[in-house]
Amino acid sequence: MTLAHRIIPCLDTDGTRVVKGVNFVGLRDAGDPVRLAARYNAEGADELVVLDIAASRDRRPTFLETIRRVAAELAIPLTAGGGIRTLNDARAVVRAGADKVTVNTAAVERPALISELSNQFGAQAVVLAVDAKRNGERWEVMVRGGRDSTDLDAIAWAEQGVSLGAGEILLTSVDRDGTQQGFDLPLTSAISHAVTVPVIASGGAKLPEHFAQIFTEGAADAALAASIFHDSVQPIRELKEFLAARSIEVRLPC
């Protein structure tokens, strides 16, 4: 009886449609976040993340409507983010039905945002997204969708984020993202051992072995992926059965 490792599909949207990691190979629901959400809810996903990767101000109401429609399909927790810069932005996302909010660039620019959110919603509702890229002997924090580098050390930033009130770290390896070569084990293990909160690993997943490795060697509490789930390359149920057979604690829905 221990806490199960979580499998989390991520929907990268332009506010309305899933725009990244979807190969439209004859799937009726590819691209529609609401249909994908319903599918993942039924297939045994442990949570769902919905991101507005465009995060443009004028499309904000459309994204909130997407969150509302996605939340209506779910009997599992929903995390939403992309473009959250203020407490009011976060409030709108929570009101639309998100259980947690995730912040990234805006928190780097103004770390106090993390505390404001944590005081308002509780640490369990604040997910600090950290995009990290190897630079020599350390990992550097990247912002604006992994495009711009900062001077921040990823481990130090994750620790600071937790001390400011983040209840979870969503850690993306910029080096591995999109490569399908497996999660970044040294990065994830380093962050997971440095912080006291759960860590969600992201970037590079393809094979069931990748998930087994990130939960054992990488010490991740949860693992996130997009395209391999959207395209049904990796059915969630089969993935969980693979992990359970290797004595990795997962939730197998009845």
Partner: protein, 203 residues
């Protein structure tokens, strides 16, 4: 049946409302003493900080009508903070008084494990449970909290526990009062079954 969700301005009221809708039950929001007095079943959803819930109950003058309803045997379900609020007090906000229906102080989970206790965990059944009727013993429920009612206080109302760092009360049942530390509204089919069991008690 008039199921009222106690809306104290924060928390997961909308999620619980949607979960009830999926079971075909329309709920009303109870944010005034009058609404609370009219309810035939009460649900107190909660998430976040102990102080936010207790202060909001007091600011909205909901403490007395809530206790009154509980003493009138109105079926009640507390969720997450809604369980913690039933105790004397909490380490999270030691200056505030809980509803004092159960003896003891809500405590922080030990720091040797990752906190918050976030995700899906299983229960250990201590006694026959009406809320868990028809739920598989190995079912997982979704937790998101850092404080808990520690098990072993000799509390006979604790019918199921969970362990994360230490063993804590996961399900409470005593007369008309029911409470769970996890989020049934976020716990898939087992969570829906639990809510249905509560609605049946309240019918």
């Amino acid at each position: 049946m008039k199921v009222a969700l106690i809306d104290y301005g924060a928390g997961n009221v909308a999620s619980v409302e949607r979960a009830l809708q999926r079971l075909g039950v329309e709920s009303v929001s109870a944010s005034t003493p009058k609404r609370m007095a009219e309810a035939s079943a009460l649900i107190l959803p909660g998430v976040g900080h102990f102080a936010a819930l207790i202060r909001a109950l007091d600011e909205r003058n909901l403490r007395a009508p809530l206790l009154d309803a509980l003493h009138r045997d109105v079926p009640f379900l507390g969720i997450c903070l809604g369980l913690q609020a039933l105790y004397d007090s909490s380490e999270e906000a030691p200056e505030l008084c809980g509803l004092q229906l159960f003896a003891g102080k809500i405590q922080a989970l030990p720091t040797r494990v990752k906190l918050p206790h976030m995700g899906w965990n299983q229960l250990r059944l201590k006694n026959t449970s009406r809320l868990l009727e028809g739920v598989a013993p190995e079912a997982h429920f979704y937790f998101a909290h850092s404080y808990a009612a520690m098990a072993g206080d000799g509390n006979a109302a604790a019918v199921a526990t969970c362990t994360h760092g230490s063993e804590f009360t996961a399900v409470l049942e005593s007369r008309n009062i029911n409470a769970v530390q996890f989020h049934p509204e976020k716990s898939g089919p087992p969570g829906a079954r639990l809510l249905q069991n509560f609605l049946r008690l309240a019918a």
